[in-house]
């Protein structure tokens, strides 16, 4: 091989490559990006669900008891007599409602 390793132009010529342009490549990267974004959102939803669940089960029954205790309204005072389990059902209802809200945000691309 006739060579001149001290000549930059010769080396550049030796190391030149053909131009690669491949739409399939860009397409698969875009697909990967979309998948990555969905995955990130799923993690976000899972964290949100755990937080709402914890909040609901820990605080909603207490909150309702406090409200019922201070209220003079017949409707709210009646909740004072609700058994604990029924309050848990209300908690589950709040979770589902929050999830429906998050879902609608997602569909409107708000998150």
């Amino acid at each position: 091989m006739k060579n001149d390793f001290h000549n930059d132009d010769w080396l550049k010529e030796q190391l030149s490559d053909e131009y690669i342009n491949d739409d399939d490549f860009s397409f698969s990267v875009v697909k990967k990006i979309a998948w990555h974004e969905t995955k990130s959102k799923r993690i976000f939803y899972a964290v949100l669900l755990v937080m709402i669940t914890l909040f609901s089960f820990l605080f909603i029954p207490d909150l309702m008891m406090i409200i019922a205790g201070n209220s003079t309204s017949r409707l709210v005072s009646a909740q004072q007599f609700l058994p604990f389990m029924q309050m848990e059902y209300i908690g589950i209802f709040v979770i589902l409602l929050s999830f429906a809200l998050i879902w609608s945000f997602e569909n409107s691309d708000l998150i």
Binding site: F5, K12, D17, Y19, I20, F25, V29, I33, A34, H36
Partner: protein, 179 residues
């Protein structure tokens, strides 16, 4: 033009703009990775995809201090290094094995081009050599991409030149002996 596309991706998470950036820059990144992985196209293209995915995820950290392509080279090289660390059949190990092998000189007879001889350089030397001679990056830009001192870049280029030159000299003397 390129900076406008980058801005669009940073501001609006614009996939279309990123796709254009990818079309503009995929060739040098894929060529660089192919040469680094010693023409293993499957691994190289997988690394290139990971490079662009990482670039998209972290594009807000790109401040425009260096060329966008240099920033991509930096990610590509980091991807290559972490993938070789993970895999047992590391390129560097292969190269060192070749260097320790007694048959090393004999195998050189088969080498005909500078591109083929690159495999006898260590991975970091090969990366520096390619960035400089194949992708026209300055010494300063290479130092930023590889995150090494400027002096090291210059030394490694000089050393690689001499290494390749000595390999071809061995090659030529083998041919003369055979005649």
């Amino acid at each position: 033009m390129e900076s406008k596309l980058v801005e669009r991706v940073q501001r609006d998470n614009d996939h279309h703009a990123f796709e254009q950036l990818m079309r503009q820059n995929q060739s040098p990144i894929r060529q660089f990775l192919r040469r680094l992985t010693l023409q293993n196209q499957g691994i190289a293209d997988e690394l290139a995809q990971e490079t662009f995915l990482k670039a998209f995820v972290h594009i807000k950290t790109y401040r425009g201090e260096a060329k966008f392509l240099s920033w991509l080279f930096k990610i590509a090289y980091q991807q290559f290094v972490s993938s070789t660390r993970k895999k047992t059949e590391q390129t560097n190990v292969e190269v060192e094995d070749k260097a320790d092998d007694g048959q090393f000189e004999r195998r050189l007879v088969a080498e005909k081009t500078v591109k083929n001889l690159l495999k006898y350089l260590k991975a970091d030397e090969r990366a520096i050599f390619l960035l400089h001679f194949s992708h026209d990056l300055t010494h300063q830009e290479i130092a930023l991409v590889m995150q090494i001192p400027l002096g090291t870049v210059k030394t490694k280029i000089r050393r690689s030149r001499l290494k390749l030159k000595s390999f071809t000299e061995i090659n030529n003397s083998e041919k003369t002996d055979e005649k």
